[in-house]
Amino acid sequence: MARPTDPTQPAPSAPRHLLETIERLARADGPRPSAPSAGLPPPTLLGLHLSRAPGLHAHHRRIAAALLGEAAERGGGQLHALGADMALLFSPADGGAAVVATLARVFATLLPPETLCSLWPLPAAADPALVWLRCAHATTEPGSATAPDAQASAAHYAALDGALQSMSTGEIVHRQTAVLLRPGHADPLVPAFREVAIATTALEARLASLPAASDPFLFSHLATRLDQRMLAALLQDVPAAGPLSAGTGPGALHVNLTLPGALSEGFARLATAAAPALAAGLRIGIELPFAEIFADPTAYVLARERIRLAGMAVVLDGLTADTLALTAPETLEPDLVKLSWSASLLTPAPPVLQAIARLNGALGHGRLMLHRIDDESAIGWGMRHGIVMFQGRYIDTVLAAARLGACPQAKGCTLRACLDRAAATDFGPRGGCRNLALLDLGAPLTRPATPPARLAA
């Protein structure tokens, strides 16, 4: 059987040929998978079940193909791609134990070894091998496992620029209300702050047809540029208590910026424009992306001090369970830390719990909050871990339902419409609401709540 000529490319697969070879081996009347020679180890079929792995990327398949390609080279065999899965018919001296051990180590975070791959010594295990081969994805995709990552060209970049410029500020800037949960109070759920941010989802949807939009570096570049448009809009809205401002809402405004955005002249202008509102009691927090700090810690330190000099609070945004387990965000001296909710937090690893305890101890109670909450399981988990501030689509829905229940002008309004209007910052979607005061307040309350700790400072 021919050896692959390129270790990154499994051979164009021939499942029919593979099936026939193993069927002949099962009948013990076919040729060996390699040229027969005295002392050649018995043939083995290795099945790699990558299709069972959640979140499979092209690089997983590429690395698997490389590792199996080398095993094929050593064991005189050939690699076949079966959709996301791979089959290697070879004659390894150790029965395949070494390559299986390597695969188990490399793919340990994706699948447990017993789920990841199977070894079928032939002809003894020909029957289960044939069953798997016949059940495996019949459609082969030659080369698909090792397709190079899509490369965007200059034309794509130009298209991105054009798409971006054609979008209105209202289209790209959204707002969302975070809440404080106070069990036992007369108002157990009160707005804590209003966040304005680039509507990443809307932007991704708009740019999805462009290959370059999937590039995280390019996307971050776009976000940095969009910051300036958001800051310009805030410059008008904050002093005038416009729809972006919290002047009519919870009394606290969070602005989501990149580090370059926080260090820009646009931010300096916002700080100047917002000074009277800050003096009058408006609280402003600047949310900075946690991941960006590792690219330029000096910029973070400068941005933090600049934000503090402006009388605003520093918020770390975008921590995940993974990053929390490996970091000590309290050393960055933020005023608030936002942890992204994920189901993995329901069974947190000990380092995550230790990090939460450390954060609560160093920053004080209520300075860690959960966002990107999609269901109520996050609320119970958060309360058990001393978290009282929450944000996300689940909270949006709860608030919209409360508004609909309390609004005398809600006749004919739907929950979806109320959700969309609350998130919108431009006149179009908001214009459909007949009770903008309640919409901007976020929840039907008589008074806004005061968030805990130094956010009020």
């Binding site: 270790p7 060209s153 970049y157 130009a158 390019l218 971050s220 700080a271 000074a275 810690p297 000096t298």
Partner: protein, 419 residues
């Protein structure tokens, strides 16, 4: 990002001779940073506002009594000391009771101590003038050069009279040269096309890493890298490739591909010794790396180090974990690049399961708790060890690997200065 140019005071512009020396130095610094793209931070202290400005905004103080600043200037100058002592730190006396301090890199503790000291000086007298945000402004060069010079030379008339020289105009300061425009998406695409076709072999460089033992440096490995500054100045002389960090990071993927392709040619590694490569995490999982790995000479298997940037690692931890497992399975060792004093306490280095951690020398490291360097089993490499102070400090905290101008195989040169 490579730091290829060190700004210095060379006031070739005749205008600069007419300026107070501190303002001339600051102007030169702004100009040099604009031209070279080298980054510096500047804290400007407008002490002249103390007498005259009523203040506004949160925390504003009542209007100051006349002469308030005269009692404070010396104390404020002292307050700037922590930053003046930072890496390449320099105090600039700008005249008209204005002070500025410039420094390089990551000095969070010094910045905080300085701001606290300024606040303490101002807070000591309830009749002092404006709030801290109005007196002290932070600038990042080269981006904020024009704004810094504008505020540093703001005419006294705008801010009130100067009792010592009521009508003294500030001297003319020539504006900094227009910085080269940053990359934009269209120019990035063009540069990628040029880079794909360029002969990068002449930009390939090596830099030695030495092991320190028995007061001798012995070679440990060579860092193989592309001189990106030279490459960019040839491919796009009219653009500042480093000004937009995200587009530059996108460009580094192309550097990875070209460097790996270069090393895949047989001649490059035929007689090479142990080496390290700077790569993106995605580069380790790329087809180019797989080809490079397939052609790696057997003698070098287990002798190569892959150097990854913390931003790349933290941006996608699952992908890093996978890349680390794959690299280890192929016999590579993993180094985390370019850590500074802010990131060391932030990261749980033991949990990241690294083989080496590169610490970039800055005097701010001397304030670091040496205990932080004992976390985990990774070995530490002190880079940018360009002088004996860096080597001395590294040795005192038990670092065993060094790289920099002061690092050459052979006996350790005599070390001077405080530990």
């Amino acid at each position: 990002m490579p730091d290829t140019h060190q700004p210095g005071l060379h006031p070739a512009d005749p205008h600069l001779f007419a300026l107070p020396p501190g303002l001339a130095a600051l102007t030169t610094l702004v100009r040099d940073c604009s031209v070279s793209g080298v980054a510096r931070q500047v804290l400007l202290l407008r002490t002249d506002l103390l007498d005259t400005h009523p203040g506004s905004g949160p925390g504003a103080r009542p209007a100051a009594r006349p002469g308030a600043r005269s009692g404070h200037l010396a104390r404020l100058r002292d307050a700037l000391e922590p930053l003046a002592a930072a890496e390449r730190g320099r105090l600039h006396e700008l005249g008209h009771d204005r002070l500025a301090v410039s420094w390089r890199g990551d000095a969070p503790d010094r910045l905080r101590r300085t701001l606290e000291a300024i606040e303490a000086v101002l807070g000591g007298n309830p009749l002092d003038g404006p709030a801290l945000p109005e007196l002290a402004r932070l600038f990042a060069l080269p981006r904020d050069g024009a704004a810094l010079l504008a505020l540093a030379t703001d005419p006294p008339g705008r801010i009130g009279s100067d009792p010592a020289a009521p009508d003294a105009p500030l001297p003319y300061v020539p504006p900094p040269p227009r910085p080269r425009p940053p990359l934009d998406p269209a120019s990035l695409g063009l540069m990628e096309t040029r880079l794909a076709a360029a002969n990068v072999a002449r930009f390939a460089r090596r830099r030695i890493v030495c092991r320190l033992g028995n007061d001798r440096f012995t070679p440990a490995w060579e860092t193989r890298y592309l001189n990106v500054a030279e490459l960019m100045s040839e491919l796009a002389p009219d653009r500042n490739a480093f000004a937009d960090p995200w587009l530059f990071r996108r460009l580094t993927r192309m550097f990875d591909r070209r460097m790996l392709a270069l090393l895949t040619t047989k001649a490059e590694l035929h007689e090479a010794g142990p080496f390290s490569l700077d790569l993106n995490v995605g580069g380790v999982l790329s087809p180019e790396f797989i080809r490079f790995d397939a052609t790696l000479p057997a003698a070098l298997r287990g002798q190569a180090v892959l150097a990854l940037h913390p931003a790349d690692i933290m941006a996608d931890l699952p992908t890093f974990t996978f890349a680390r497992a794959y690299a280890r399975a192929r016999g590579y060792r993993i180094l985390m690049r370019a850590l500074g004093p802010t990131l060391i306490p932030l990261l749980d280095l033991a949990a990241l399961e690294l083989d080496f951690v590169e610490l970039r020398w800055t005097p701010a490291l001397t304030a670091l708790d040496p205990g932080a360097l004992r976390a985990g089993t990774a070995r530490w490499l002190l880079s940018r060890a360009d002088g004996p102070d860096a080597v001395h400090w590294g040795r005192s905290v038990g670092i065993g690997l060094f790289q920099g101008d002061a690092v050459r195989p052979g006996p350790l040169p005599p070390l001077h200065g405080p530990p």
